[in-house]
């Protein structure tokens, strides 16, 4: 079983092409001085020279860096603490808190930030209320501090996911020992539990840090009024800075982002390997007992509730409120401004309605096809370790380093200038491919988690009785991971519903989806429609989460 079948090599090659062709185009474009399809382009470093000379680029870079740093410093401790509270202690309401916790993962930051402007913006209803109570509004939602804070708070779930699954795999006897020796819950968390899952937290810290460099929707909405740029919104600004779109400059910025994030993505591999080493520390058996919090119980519950209120409740209420009014602000009451026109507008406008339908199609059918593809890719490297699988490993990781916005632009070029694909540009297939590649790493993780659960002896048993590798896959491996795959489908569905930046450049008749429509409409300022679309998008995600909860699909691994 050393020789790899041709079919697997083909799968690996196709994956590599789907990933590296668009990124290669971006790379090539960054060294030109005009769009790559122009006749009079020249190769050179002009693009890099321009952006490095541009004070805006420096500012955007610094802002992105602060956001990344702030995100890591806020979300890692909070995420770790939250994981400890929910997994290890008798925190009241643990069971229903968890799904709420994950809302920021599945609702796009654009929607959340849009909600913030309505609820805690300068004349938001929470702000007006604070004004009455305190005499002035003690916060400014558009300041850099707020942006960093919101970015940090909304990424707490990412850290939570990794820390909690690491914690779950650890037995609690060490913690109990600490308890018996007289340590309080906070001390147990800080000196025993969290250090044990340090690799997982470090891993998620790196993840959050490089996600910080890709922040787009948040800065697009909240950074607008005071002109706080981050790298991704700087890309947008570049378009107008020179009057005409400057692909070479945009590609150069993209390459800067990639240069920063690739090493981090690679370091994650290293960290993950270490993290798995740590798991050997687990005690005998997986006996876990909850730690009584005692008097801390309600303090902890209050903290979690506060986090939920700030990160989930306030923005969501804002969005939902805005979707049902014509105008708002000081002196406007909900009843006199109440309207359903915003939704009527969505249903009456062909492109918006298509957007809603396409979003569902892309999530349900596209998500399903993606899971099939991810499974094929997973099977291609299943229980193999050779040059091919290493190539695949890197291929899968790479798209993580590219912000969705640019991946979408690169895919637009691929679909424009790669003749075999050209007929599909104006169909959902173009979007589907871009989405699948952008979320490749995430999807592969879902699928391979299932694959790794299949005991090797089952497959070997089939092989010994004479089954071909294809038969093993069809009759043993895939049937065994059936439920895992269904769960992955649901997760991919929700991620595809949420995605907003990848489709921006691919947007056209036939390829409208809610996410990219919102970015485009934000540019045009159609706030009424954006709020209605946001509401519909939240509904779609809720359906996904509802199914997940109903059938006990774990929302994380």
């Amino acid at each position: 079983m050393n020789e790899m079948p041709l079919s697997k090599k083909v799968v690996i090659c196709l994956t590599a092409i789907a990933v590296f062709l668009p990124i290669g185009l971006l790379f090539w474009q960054s060294f030109l001085d005009a769009p790559f399809f122009n006749v009079d382009k020249k190769v050179g470093l002009d693009a890099y020279r321009f952006i490095f000379d541009d004070p805006d680029f420096r500012q955007a870079f610094l802002n992105s860096f602060y956001i990344s740093l702030g995100m890591a410093f806020i979300s890692v401790p909070l995420g770790g603490l939250l994981a400890f509270l929910l997994v290890r202690t008798d925190l009241p309401g643990r069971n229903w808190i968890e799904p709420l916790l994950l809302i920021p993962v599945f609702v796009s930051p654009m929607i959340l930030c849009f909600g913030y402007t309505v609820s805690v913006g300068p004349v938001g209803f929470v702000s007006i209320w604070a004004q009455k109570l305190l005499g002035s509004v003690p916060w400014n939602i558009y300041s850099m501090t707020s942006i960093v804070l919101i970015a940090g708070l909304s990424h707490v779930p990412h850290v939570y996911l990794y820390s909690s699954s690491a914690l779950r795999s650890l037995a609690s006897d060490v913690e109990e020992a600490a308890r018996v020796a007289g340590a309080g819950p906070l001390r147990v968390a800080a000196t025993v539990s969290l250090p044990m899952v340090m690799p997982a937290m470090l891993y998620s810290g790196v993840l959050v840090f490089f996600l910080g460099f890709q922040v787009f929707g948040l800065a697009l909405v909240l950074g607008d009024p005071e002109g706080h740029l981050v790298l991704a919104t700087y890309l947008y600004k570049l378009t107008n800075k020179l009057g005409t779109p400057s692909y070479h400059l945009m590609a150069a910025v993209a390459m800067c982002i990639v240069t920063i994030t690739v090493p981090m993505v690679l370091s994650q591999r290293f960290l993950l390997r270490n993290a798995q080493k740590y798991v050997t520390l687990k005690g005998k058996g997986a006996r876990q007992r909850t730690l009584p919090l005692g008097g801390w119980r309600w303090v902890a519950a209050g903290l979690v509730a506060l986090w939920l209120a700030v990160t989930v409740l306030i923005p969501l209420v804002g969005v939902i409120f805005r979707a049902f009014v014509t105008n708002w602000g000081e002196g406007v009451t909900f009843l006199e401004a109440f309207t359903l026109d915003n939704f009527k507008a969505v249903f009456e406008q062909g492109n918006l309605m298509r957007g809603v339908i396409n979003t569902v199609l892309l999530g349900v059918i596209g998500g399903g096809v993606s899971v099939i593809c991810f499974t094929l890719i997973g099977l291609a490297s299943h229980r193999k370790n050779n040059g091919w699988t290493r190539l695949l490993d890197y291929t899968v990781m790479t798209p993580r380093a590219v912000p969705g916005l640019l991946a979408g632009l690169a895919f637009l070029w691929v679909f424009l200038f790669f003749p075999p694909l050209a007929p599909f540009r104006k169909t959902l297939i173009s979007l589907w491919l871009a989405y699948s590649v952008v979320w490749l790493a995430y999807g592969m993780r879902l699928v391979s988690t299932s694959l790794l659960q299949v005991g090797a002896e089952l497959e070997e048993g089939a092989r010994v009785t004479g089954a071909t590798p294809g038969q093993v896959n069809r009759h043993v491996t895939v049937p065994l991971i059936k439920y895992g795959l269904l769960a992955s489908w649901l997760m991919i569905f929700m991620i595809f519903e949420r995605e907003y930046s990848t489709g921006v450049y691919l947007l056209g008749p036939g390829t409208e989806v809610i996410g990219s429509l919102m970015v485009s409409l934000w540019g045009a300022g159609a706030i009424d429609i954006i709020s209605a679309l946001s509401f519909i998008n939240i509904l779609l995600v809720s359906v996904g989460m509802g199914i997940a909860l109903r059938y006990g699909v774990k929302l994380h691994d």
Partner: protein, 344 residues
């Protein structure tokens, strides 16, 4: 419906029937436009009623997307919009200058102001004043400026500190072009810019976002807002008021041209003529709430009624080489530098 049922509009050249027949044979028209679908919908419906058999595929894009998509598709050669219709006048003229436009003299040309036809390629289709909007609930009459010259007085009011919004010239191409028009028409432009910057003006990239801020009271006044949007919003939203500055009012026009790469050139010609025709302009004025450019169209949102209100104050942005003056990198960056310095 039989093809022969459609006759050429009155006053059109005799061989116009050929264009109609050819257009019907094409059966389709792809329009790339920045006018939102909702406003354009009455035009599309009426056009399809006038020329049954031609299906309009209307693409509502923002001006940058439109430009990007057009040049990309033109280079790839796989077909692109037959007509592009955009409020980013400079980008439209640039496309024409780069040789992407088809030369076609519309039979309606005579009915348009001379500046609205450039080389029989680019046509101005609307006449939209650039206005100042304000929050009616929260501002009193004497707190509202009457003209550009009056702006400095009003901005000195501490109530407006940090409560004025305008386009960010660095992030919005249209916002940039309105400011450069101000520069041309206003001797004291940089003083006005200083007054704006010192009042802590907040800058945005879209009219809608600004209108939302003014409506909610987060801001109280919006400078350089496209009049058609202000008009439309003020009809639905009791908080919004608007005015045209009395010393001069910049007027912009949505520019359209037929692509040289058009797959449906005849249908495109029919569309261009229709938009410029009395029938189309009447809808532009009455139903789309954009402002009609033809002098024989009456109504609140038309050049006619606007000229009466503005007296001699209207300053239409010319369509021609001077439209792209500020696409020159150096000139553009110089302007930004000065704009940033105005803050000090």
């Amino acid at each position: 419906m039989p093809i022969a049922a459609v006759a050429a509009p009155a006053g059109y050249p005799a061989d116009y029937q050929k264009i109609i027949d050819a257009g019907k044979k094409e059966g389709k028209l792809v329009v790339y436009a920045t006018t939102d679908t909702k406003s354009a919908d009455p035009l599309i419906k009426d056009f399809q009623a006038l020329y049954p058999g031609i299906k309009v595929e209307y693409n509502d894009l923002n001006s940058t997307e439109l430009y990007n998509r057009f040049i990309g598709e033109a280079a790839a050669g796989g077909g692109t919009g037959d007509v592009t219709w955009s409020s980013a006048m400079d980008l439209q003229v640039k496309l024409v200058l780069d040789g992407h436009a088809l030369t076609y003299k519309s039979p309606e040309t005579g009915k348009l102001p001379a500046w609205a036809n450039w080389k029989d390629q680019a046509y101005g289709t609307t006449y939209e004043p650039i206005s100042i909007v304000y929050n009616k609930r929260l501002l009193k009459a004497d707190e509202i400026p009457k003209s550009h010259a009056d702006l400095a007085r009003v901005l000195a009011n501490p109530k407006l500190k940090g409560k004025v919004v305008t386009y960010d010239p660095e992030r919005s191409g249209v916002g940039f072009s309105y400011l450069t028009q101000d520069l041309k028409n206003n001797k004291n432009f940089w003083d006005m810019a200083k007054a704006l910057r010192h009042s802590g003006v907040k800058v945005y990239t879209s009219t809608g976002a600004m209108m939302e801020k003014v409506s909610s009271g987060e801001a109280l006044m919006g400078y350089n807002i496209i009049g058609s949007y202000a008009f439309l919003k003020s009809k639905k939203d009791p908080s919004i008021g608007y005015l045209y500055p009395s010393d001069y009012t910049v007027v912009m026009s949505r520019v359209q041209f037929i692509s040289k790469h058009a797959k449906n050139p005849n249908a495109a010609k029919l569309w261009v003529d229709y938009i410029l025709s009395n029938r189309g302009q009447q809808i532009i004025s009455d139903k789309a709430d954009l402002f009609a450019i033809r002098s024989d169209v009456k109504g609140e949102t038309s050049m006619n009624s606007l000229s009466k209100q503005l007296k001699n104050g209207a300053r239409p942005i010319p369509i021609g080489k001077e439209t792209v003056e500020y696409l020159d990198q150096k000139k553009r960056l110089d302007f930004f530098k000065k704009w940033q310095q105005a803050e000090k």
